[in-house]
């Protein structure tokens, strides 16, 4: 992708945050923070059970294709439609039950059960996010860091490709290769942005055990996070028609949380019936004259094109060598 395209994308993302207040003047109902960012209010329950849909030759449920979240981006983890720190959305003024619920589905209060020291760190990040006077207050995704677990499911739309023994997630910021072969995790001392994933299918549910997390990606602009001792038990529960799934992930990290807790992030499938929107469904037609319409995503580039971000208070881009190998 060339620089122009990416600049346009970044501009759109910036626009996604800022003019929420203007949107409220124009329309009384809650509006997306940007054209294209879907803002559904409800999170339909999907029960684990048998898979009755199409299967691939190796027996896996066929869930390959384009997907994206349905309630909001990563601006706010626990009040997804209220906007990022310091820039409340139009909907933030409405009664809480008129916005999508917290992504924390357990405990019932919708809050991450941090230990006091961890809560203080999260709140310190949120307080400093609007004016990041230190590098630690810049949202790492703004620097093109991999979005990691679970933020990748709240960012741009993504693609699932499946192979015997593998489910592969292609995100705009990073790639997750989920091995289905029952092999052990890599050595525990190796810590990774996306962690190390081992999965298997239980009926309509892809069950994934994520270890080796480095905890660096954060969950979004409020600074919610896990530590590098965290284990994440993910369940991707697909509806029988294969049009939606709920990402249900339980986070365990005794150094950061007082108890395990669970996040739920809804997603829906995008197909040729949907209009490409540059965010959830950032695709172009495949050049296949005479054949039915298909879409493809162009290459995923970020660090190579990244411009100033994070309020510009702390330099983000760098042309300096970062490796010596």
């Amino acid at each position: 992708m060339n620089r122009k395209t990416v600049c346009a994308t970044v501009a759109l993302l910036l626009a996604a945050i800022a003019p929420a207040a203007i949107a409220q003047e124009a329309a009384p109902a809650p509006q997306p923070t940007a054209p294209g960012i879907r803002w559904q209010k409800d999170v339909p329950a999907i029960a684990s059970g048998e898979w009755t849909g199409a299967r691939l030759a190796d027996g896996q449920p066929d869930v390959s294709g384009f997907w994206s979240n349905t309630i909001s981006n990563h601006s706010n983890f626990t009040d997804p439609q209220a906007g990022p720190p310091g820039e409340p959305s139009a909907a933030a003024k409405l009664p809480r039950d008129q916005r999508a619920p917290s992504r924390v589905s357990d405990p019932g209060d919708g809050q991450v059960p941090y230990l006091p020291a961890a809560r203080a760190l999260q709140e310190d990040f949120a307080k400093n996010f609007p004016n990041p006077v230190k590098p630690r207050y810049i949202e790492p995704l703004a620097r093109c860091a991999p979005a990691g677990v679970p933020k990748s499911f709240m960012w741009h739309g993504y693609e699932v490709r499946q192979y015997p023994g593998y489910v592969v997630f292609l995100f705009d910021s990073g790639t997750r290769i989920i091995k289905l072969d029952g092999s052990p995790h890599i050595a525990p001392g190796i810590k990774l942005w996306n962690g190390d994933s081992r999965g298997h299918w239980e009926g309509n549910t892809l069950v994934v055990d994520v270890r080796n997390n480095n905890g660096k990606a954060l969950f979004g602009r409020y600074g919610d996070y896990m530590g590098d001792n965290a284990a994440v038990a993910e369940r991707f529960v697909f509806d029988p028609a294969g049009q939606r799934f709920n990402y249900v992930a339980t986070f365990t990290d005794p150094t950061v949380y007082s108890r395990p807790w669970t996040a739920t992030i809804p997603a829906r499938r995008y197909t040729v019936a949907d209009k490409p929107d540059g965010w959830h469904f950032d695709v172009k037609p495949v050049n296949l004259p005479g054949k039915p319409l298909q879409y493809e995503h162009s290459e995923r580039i970020c660090a190579e094109n990244n411009g100033p971000f994070g309020g510009g208070a702390v330099g983000v881009p760098s042309d300096e060598p970062v490796i010596d190998r």
Binding site: M1, N2, R3, T5, L121, Q122, D124, F125, K134, P135, R136, I138, P140, R143, C144, A145, P146, R161, Y163, Y166, L170, S173, G174, T175, I177, S183, P184, I186, I190, L192, W193, N214, G215, K216, A217, L218, G223, Y225, M226, G227, K284, V286, N287, L288, P289, K291, S298, E299, R300, I301, C302, A303, E304, S318, D319, E320, P321, V322, I323, D324
Partner: protein, 267 residues
Amino acid sequence: MIRKAVLLLAASTALLAPAFSAAAAPAKPALQAPVAAPAIPRQADGKPDFSGIWQVLGEADYDLEPHAGRRDAPPGPGVVEGGTIPYTPEALERRNKNFATRAKDDPRLKCWVLGVPRGVYYPAPFQIFQRAQDLTLVHQFGNQVRTIRTDGSDHPEEKHQEFWLGDSRGHWEGDTLVVDVADFNEETWLDRAGNFHGPDLHVVERWTFVDPNTISYSVTLDEVGIFTKPWTINVLLHRRRDKGFQLIEDYCYALEYEQFYPHKDGK
């Protein structure tokens, strides 16, 4: 290589044939059996299946051309057919300039996308995931993921998108995957020695199994104004067969700022 493999395959088919006529004809003494080439992995549709983790073994990324050992490169015999890259005089001058400043200007040092073909012969593993309609190449180094569609599609109608990896479209010629790659930008280099290309680079890759664990990767580069004629690189790619081997993400562009997370002041 292809021809040999085909002959061996034909020979092994011939070996099967007598079995059917065994009842009719008296058993003959066993033929001097040729050493059968091990069967290559194939997809359900019969096309070669390159699924797996691959890595070059060699010095190509240090310098595509023949070179003696130096401080920042082991010696290498070169991987360019004919020895040297046929640059135009102006392009050669620029390559020499790149060579002089390689310690700071090689885009690899920023962990940026290495491009095509460099990502293939950069000395880090990459994994090929293959379906009938496409191959997905996930490189361990940085954030490089390339899709090669083999569904008969052509390059996008929209030109000059200036992709970092180019746009890849593949088709099969017998057991060889032929990939046409076009529409690049000029940000990537071809190796650590400052060899380079411009935005009008045209790349044709040929991927062929030598045996089940080795791929012959032959790639031809052409660009008017940079090269005086098309030229070709040949390397072998080896299957990583170390016990339990897997890709380990290497988002090295994040190394300079990972110290600040989660919630740290850094060093």
